[in-house]
Assembly symmetry: C2
Homo-oligomer: 123 residues x 2
Amino acid sequence: MRIGEVAERAGVSVRSLRYYEQQGLLESTRTSGGQRRYGDDAVSWVGLIQQLYAAGLSSATIRELMPCLHAGVSTPESRDRLRTEKTRLDEYISGLERTRERLEAMIELAEAPNPHCPVVLGR
Amino acid sequence: MRIGEVAERAGVSVRSLRYYEQQGLLESTRTSGGQRRYGDDAVSWVGLIQQLYAAGLSSATIRELMPCLHAGVSTPESRDRLRTEKTRLDEYISGLERTRERLEAMIELAEAPNPHCPVVLGR
DNA sequence: CTGGATCCTGACGTCGGTGTCAGGTTCTCG
DNA sequence: CGAGAACCTGACACCGACGTCAGGATCCAG
């Protein structure tokens, strides 16, 4: 598959795919002329990368995990990394859920006829 | 309260407080010499701002909501904004929860003795 | 074999929240 | 009143994922 097709199917830009490769997150073979060719699983890999980005992992962290993800090679370090990131994500989600509750409270107050809105006290 | 004290209590930098004011998110009075003075509720406001930042709202969005949050003045627009942001946050949290499940699956695979780890297929 | 579509590298730009530095003013305590 | 701590504005730097442009090479259908 050529890079443009991967980009379209995965819903990302060509630029991003080159960036992922530069960061060591995505592999490709090259034609004799130097153009990238991808296997069918590339689209799924890109999806995973995007998902991990969205969860706040950095390129460097994802790269450290790639051997584990890619070949099932897990070291004590990679397992630690995984657990650390999961813990971080857990806490992050918890915080967001508190924010969501707060947003809900704000909506209720905003929709109530009562004009008093001491949002800031509800810390 | 002086700016340094607010910063310390709220756990943010002085720079950030000045930035929030520049963005119209945080009010202060000024001494005759031009230094900022804050009320006791400033710390709570900063907490709210940080929380909304963490939930992915931009300065501009938070600013639009300030009249509602601050004085309980809610317009149809601000209610729309609130609902839009809550919906966005809901979807974002849902995505993160899927990522969390995936991370959990990855951890299980990494800790299993079975070296086969087709993470990417579990899309 | 050719021309238009696609791809290549390298480089600089962007955005948003914040760090940091310079050079100067204000506050507060003894 | 003096000195040191705290504050002021303005400006530039940074990070990370990606946009965008230039100038050129490659690919493939006809």
